[in-house]
């Protein structure tokens, strides 16, 4: 066990229909005007937006709607949101959507209280304040509903960078698993891959000997696999959707890394280059990168990979555990090779160059120079 600080003040309200409480929650926080951030039209088509607006109206909360957030949310659109939040003097940002919407809402919350351009906070400036963020989640994957992370893509520079700050933990996140029943199976699979990556990166790269955290990670991965398999067989499986949703939240809320000491997120580092350049779904990029990275990293921590194989898959060797995870990605139809995502092997050098920028920002460029990143990516050809 290493020193740590754990402080996750997000209030989670979990259950069917709970989005009806959003007006009351905003009221209780003394907020009377929000910028409501959402994606394309699905939240309107499903009727969710109407229900949210009704709850806001009942709470006498004024609302500026700001739709159009895309997957791999864009800096340019974030800047529009910042301008709107400032113009209308929003007291909070309300995100209604999946991880992309939540991430952009957090970025807007930061930009709305800043004089400088919001991108400054993604390339090094420390976040010192933000508008309060409230969320209604429609897709389980990123854990953004209960953490201080936001990832935004700068399309001009092709940089997919992040902020990580205590100021952008959502005040309240409403998790209604029924809202996820209609998530297509491909995006469900990508969410599963993302949740597994969130816990597996620390599990593989930390120091040995923190067994409690190992067991939490193994429990989360086993539950992701179990519930995803149930959903793949029966997309409206209510219990599986609900359990999957809460599991994905716990996968990146600070619980599993508490006390493990230094660890790194190399798969996310490499994947951000992939989805930053090619605009593929984050989870699809991760299922390509992870098996490759695991094969490359395996010799550096063989005992932990052996433990992973035994505890998660009941297998005896680390190699077999890696192969089993890759095969499971194949089974849930998430890509495991670059060409499956339409990425030519000839682009590997350019991808590695892009990823190296993030490696430098995250302080792992020593272990992951450009050549190494390219070497890992060649294992995904």
């Amino acid at each position: 066990m290493f020193d740590f600080t754990f402080h996750n003040p997000t209030k989670i309200i979990f259950g069917a229909g709970k989005e009806a409480l959003i007006g009351a929650e905003l009221n209780a926080a003394g907020i009377n005007r929000v910028l409501l951030v959402h994606g394309r039209n699905s939240v309107a088509r499903s009727g969710l937006l109407d229900r949210v607006m009704a709850s806001l109206k009942a709470g006498n909360i004024a609302c500026t709607q700001f739709g159009g957030v895309v997957s791999n949310p864009l800096l340019s659109h974030t800047r529009e949101g910042v301008a709107l939040a400032k113009r209308d003097k929003a007291g909070a940002i309300l995100a209604v959507g999946g991880g992309s919407v939540l991430d952009e809402a957090k970025a807007i919350a930061v930009g709305a209280l800043a004089d400088e351009d919001v991108w400054q906070f993604f390339i090094g400036r420390e976040v010192e304040r933000a508008l309060p963020v409230f969320t209604i989640l429609t897709l389980a994957a990123t854990g953004s509903e209960m953490n201080g992370n936001s990832v935004i893509t700068n399309a001009e520079t092709r940089q997919k960078y992040n902020i990580s700050s205590p100021h952008v933990y959502p005040r309240v996140s409403i998790l209604n698993p029924e809202l996820t029943h209609s998530v297509p199976l491909d995006y469900t699979a990508y969410g599963a891959v993302d949740a597994i990556a969130h816990v597996l990166e620390g599990y593989c790269t930390k120091q040995p000997g923190t067994h409690l955290q190992d067991r939490l990670v193994e429990g989360i991965i086993k539950t992701v696999i179990e519930t995803t398999d149930l959903i793949m067989a029966e997309p409206y499986h209510a219990k599986a959707r609900a359990s999957f949703m809460w599991t994905a939240t716990l996968a990146l809320n600070g619980l599993t890394p508490a006390g493990i000491g230094a660890y790194s997120f190399p798969n996310h580092m490499i994947e951000h280059a992939l989805s930053g350049i090619y605009n593929i779904p984050h989870g699809a990029g991760l299922s390509i990168v992870m098996p490759a990275w695991m094969k490359w990293y395996f010799p550096k921590n063989p005992s932990q990979f052996k433990r992973f194989a035994q505890e998660v898959f009941g297998l005896d060797s680390g190699e077999a555990g890696i192969a089993a995870l890759e095969q499971w990605f194949v089974a849930i139809k998430s890509p495991v090779r670059l060409h499956e995502a339409g990425i030519p092997a000839t682009d590997i050098e350019a991808i590695a160059e892009n990823a190296e920028g993030l490696a430098r920002q995250w302080g792992i460029a020593g272990l992951y120079p450009r050549d190494t990143i390219a070497e890992i990516l060649r294992l995904a050809v």
Copy 2:
């Protein structure tokens, strides 16, 4: 998965020497006067109190010392603390000690802002406000450092009752595992029993099918057993003490029951009667009650007991799992029969009568009428 709300705003600062941060944390919260609650002399003898006072002084925080909290903390002493906090207009209660000190500090925090006697809140009145509570933990067991529970004994009525309120979650809890290195092995064992009880009660009494929570519980129990065994062999085992400490915190911070629906705490219900009447350590009472209760309850939920046996002990039958847990309690020298704690079997009717009062308050008197409680206790003769 069932509907739930999870909101645990306590900030945990974990690591050696972190008690030196208490002054800064109180300052950051705008507090300039505390009532410092502690137990007998051990915190003074160990030098901890001096270090805490130095940190308060550096932060210009005035302090009223209030020592003398006993294990199974008493209402009469709590009332003294309430009077002191009011007299000196404390802005916060700072607890320095184990679960008993923390529980009494929370009760004082409630009483300090109330016009009525503090016991009213333990027999039904709802807590609506409390002074902020800060804690420096010296004994891992109860989880009080990261939850909204407080248990106090009314010696006149022999009632050991509790409050459970969002208003008494500690603002900040400092966990320095080195402070627990000198905890005697008997109290270490009682803490281990308590932590296991905290997760096992929900695990056994909930509805089936919430596998994530099952896995979290199994991971916690396995870690408690593993680390306790290491500590029993080597009391100053730093890694085991540290892991044990954080595991005990997670065992009762709301994580494991989130989403499991209705569950009950029958072992705590019966044990509160034991330690309320006989003033035995809470964990010692639990290791007597639990095997008895498990044998009695087993037919009501055989599949979950089988799962427990398999996952925790690698055994094939529920009965074998119960026996293994009981044998482990014996191995760590925590009592498993009433007479080992000096409690005569002829007292069983009186204990059951006392426990029935709490069963009524907790709404489980239907399943646990007096006769049933006596029947369970006879399995511990």
